[in-house]
Symmetry: C2
Subunit: 209 residues, 2 copies
DNA sequence: TTACAAATGTGATAAACCCTCATATTATGT
DNA sequence: ACATAATATGAGGGTTTATCACATTTGTAA
């Protein structure tokens, strides 16, 4: 099925599904080139002509696999999100009480923050360059998915609390976490660190009930 | 001084300062037209040609007062921010204890949320369409200014706490408030309301120390 | 191997848009 | 009324995205 291939490649916005191996390599070349260009000058500055040249592919080929310019960026964003979600899933696995959750969450925030600081592409894509609605939708879906992971743990650890309220709280905590990261990487390092610490305090209190 | 005129008109990005009254009216016509167009189809869809036609002005005239397309949007954003800041300043005036602060803040959040829900232009501009860095800078400066207002009250009410930490906390609370609004208007109304409530709980706890 | 069909690759070019600038019009001061 | 400064105009230059008719490569069966 084409969909499984799509899942493997994480190409929700693709136009033509690559069935031959040569075209899969091609798609990877395009994405690698996009990554490099974004790291160098930001996603705004990425031109389709540059991308074609860097990937050693014609412009027409770009549009074989991506319906438009922003789809390339969205695909990268989703890859990074998937990577982050794995991180969260691992971090929350095996948590069995509230103090454990606090510790795990605190470490997750640090890990995430480190990823934001280290990955120029992630920095760029999530630092507010959300020109199109589809990219915002991806952001929202990401918060939702991460929030669901957290909510699951919370409802398990606090069976007496209202699950609906916990779900909203978890969703918000995750979304504001992303917002905090974006803020933190927009200011100087010292202030960014302090803001991340302040966020952690706020979020951890939320787990106490 | 041209700067005073600039201050009155809130046109930080203007190219030529309007000295004749006719051109001031013109600028207002342009901004009103921009507002209408954005309310109708979003800022992404606002074309300079449409704007010129709607404002009954030539394209060249647009560039007499705005250096580029995004400057028009930024000017509107700054006007809305100024309006919001006045709101906050009023709301926090006369607060004399922590319970009072909690009540005032809670009401401010409701007011702000109401503004976001009611104003299509504000919705659009702040709902994530931050394609260019300058608009993000405006967002950041806004959070900072609002945070400073809150920090002032907090340091007054809690003289024993570390002022630096309070400042970071206030900045973060204000910034995450904006993030919450953006999130709330992106989901359905019931969920949005619940998320705003969750944010209020989180923020209010932060004031307790 | 050869031939044929399906899949994939190419780049000139259409279409859309932002912004400039030479020129025309209007306002202000004498 | 005249001169000069301020403002208004819109055709066109320049840039970028995306298309599509045609060329090339791959897979397959005789």
């Amino acid at each position: 099925m084409g969909n499984e291939i799509a899942g493997e490649l994480q190409m929700p916005a693709a136009r033509r599904w690559p069935t031959q191996s040569r075209s899969r390599e091609r798609v990877e070349r395009i994405l690698a080139a996009a990554s490099a260009l974004i790291a160098e000058a930001g996603s705004d500055a990425m031109r389709m002509s540059d991308l074609a040249e860097r990937a050693e592919v014609s412009i027409g080929s770009l549009y074989q696999y991506f319906p438009d310019r922003s789809a390339v960026i969205r695909t990268l964003a989703e890859r990074y999100n998937a990577q982050g979600r794995e991180c969260i899933e691992e971090g929350l696995a095996g948590v069995s009480d509230i103090p454990g959750l606090k510790k795990a969450f605190s470490e997750l925030v640090d890990t995430y923050y480190g990823m934001f600081l280290a990955e120029p592409v992630m920095r760029d894509i999530w630092s507010g360059t959300q020109a199109d609605k589809l990219l915002r939708d991806i952001d929202l879906a990401d918060s939702r998915a991460n929030g669901a992971l957290l909510a699951e743990v919370l409802t398990r650890l606090r069976p007496d609390a209202d699950p609906g309220e916990l779900a909203h709280s978890a969703f918000l905590v995750m979304h504001l976490g992303e917002a905090t990261m974006r803020l933190a990487i927009s200011v100087d390092r010292a202030e960014g660190d302090a803001l991340v610490e302040a966020y952690k305090r706020m979020a951890l209190r939320e787990f106490e009930g």
